[in-house]
């Protein structure tokens, strides 16, 4: 493998040198992973229990992406090289971008359909688009 510049800097101290550092690394990584799982659980709970499409989207993007970030951070602490850790952080960044694009598309569609009352996904206009638009789009279009 090529000699990459961040491979010369290990993520934390060498485990064989200081046992205390090894314990802290394990503890930190487990803490981050557990927090990530808790955030994912919260996001899924929000997806199931929130009344409106936009609030559910909010729960999905905010909580799940934070959970992904925590899990990526916890895994990056356990990575075997600096480049593997950087790839994990890059995975988080790319997932943020992708979810930003898709969530914005869905939210914009729902906003322009003027979804106001709480509906389930199956009966909302997202799942049942109508060819003739009876609702007025709002005068000030969102970003």
């Amino acid at each position: 493998m090529q000699d990459l510049w961040f491979d010369r800097w290990p993520v934390l101290a060498d485990p064989a040198v200081v046992f205390g550092m090894q314990w802290m690394r394990e503890f930190l990584s487990w803490t981050f992973i557990v927090f990530g799982a808790v955030f994912f659980l919260g996001g899924t709970l929000g997806l199931i229990r929130f009344p409106d499409l936009l609030t559910r989207l909010h729960a999905l993007t905010k909580a799940d992406n934070l959970g992904l970030g925590c899990i990526c951070l916890g895994l990056a602490l356990r990575a075997e090289s600096g480049s593997a850790a950087a790839k994990l952080i890059a995975v988080w960044g790319l997932a943020l971008l992708a979810s930003a694009v898709s969530a914005h598309l869905i939210a914009r569609y729902a906003f322009q359909r003027a979804i106001r009352r709480p509906v389930s996904v199956a009966e909302s206009p997202v799942a049942n688009p109508s060819s003739h638009d009876t609702t007025e789009p709002p005068t000030r279009t969102p970003l």
Binding site: L97, A98, T141
Partner: protein, 315 residues
């Protein structure tokens, strides 16, 4: 903490979840629910592949099976909703027993070779490992895909081309497109995000193509990432369907099949054996085939999604 117990629980959850998801996908009354459950089923299958230590197949399953197919199904759902015929449940309740019977018979017949297995297993992995240095690749999956079983890959490419030809044949220029009543194209945030995402996706695709030689990756996965960009541009209304395909689109679609089969025929004429790469040229030939595969797969999947023979770029 007993590691094997945790892994056992994880595997059991995965297997049972697969079964339950498959059941619910078929028996859900709402078509939208079925599609969403199918996408989740694809992701579970990708997890299973990863758990079986097959990361290449997991990548392909997540990108193509869950990603592109899911987007395709959602688009088909949007067109179906606009059609005047009412949408009924996929399988009527009373015929469910017959479906279960047929499926059990099918899978039961798939299990019968179990009784006729040979006594000593032939270790194909050992043969692959011994002959791997001849191909110049480190990743055995890519070597099998492009060298040892290259003939299968040629046929796969031909099948993809045939599917796209179906789109060419069925394209109806005069049919009204389903109403896209809200212009998503004039969103400033989307413009910025797409401008950021496209070069990144190109970089990821080229990385997947290059790293397929010695890590999980490869041409199909790279083509799927590029097709994702094509689908995004189509949804963002940058790429609009157009009718006659210009020469460069036709060339791009047919490129991988032409390249692969011309290499095969050339090698047949030179060495007398089909797809037997000479040792010094193996890596170069496989790289050329992979580049052609990536471009063709990306173009084919994008055109399959947009359901048109060609596209034009909207300024």
């Amino acid at each position: 903490m007993n590691d094997s117990l945790v892994i056992y629980l994880f595997d059991t959850t995965l297997a049972l979840g697969l079964l339950w998801l498959g059941w619910r996908t078929v028996t859900a009354t709402d078509l939208f629910k079925s599609i969403v459950l199918f996408i989740i089923f694809g992701l579970f299958t990708a997890l299973c592949w990863a758990r079986l230590a097959a990361p290449d197949v997991a990548l392909a399953e997540a990108a193509l099976g869950a990603g592109v197919t899911g987007a395709l199904l959602m688009d088909a759902y949007r067109v179906l909703v606009h059609s005047p015929q009412p949408m009924t449940a996929l399988i009527a309740r009373r015929s469910l027993g017959g479906v279960i019977l047929v499926l059990t018979a099918l899978f039961g017949s798939l299990l019968t070779p179990w009784t006729t297995l040979p006594e000593v297993a032939r270790d194909l992995g050992e043969q692959v490992r011994t002959h791997l240095p001849e191909t110049g690749m480190v990743n055995p999956v890519t070597a099998v895909l492009l060298d040892f079983r290259g003939y299968d890959t040629v046929l796969e490419v031909a099948v993809l081309l045939l599917a796209l030809l179906g789109v060419f044949v069925l394209y109806d220029e005069t049919a009204p497109s389903p109403a896209i009543t809200h212009r998503v194209a004039d969103s400033a945030l989307m413009a910025a995000l797409v401008r950021l995402l496209i070069p990144l996706a190109g970089l990821v695709a080229l990385y997947l193509l290059w790293v397929g030689a010695h890590r999980p990756g490869g041409a199909f996965q790279a083509g799927a990432v590029l097709a994702g960009i094509g689908i995004l541009l189509h949804l963002y209304e940058r790429l609009l369907p157009a009718a006659p395909a210009p020469w460069w689109i036709r060339g791009g679609i047919a490129m991988s099949l032409l390249l692969f089969s011309s290499i095969a025929v050339g090698l047949l004429l030179l060495t007398g054996r089909l797809l037997d790469y000479p040792r010094d040229w193996a890596k170069l030939l496989m790289l050329a085939i992979e580049i052609g595969l990536m471009i063709s797969t990306a173009l084919t999947l994008t055109l399959l999604f947009s359901n048109a023979p060609s596209f034009r770029i909207r300024r």
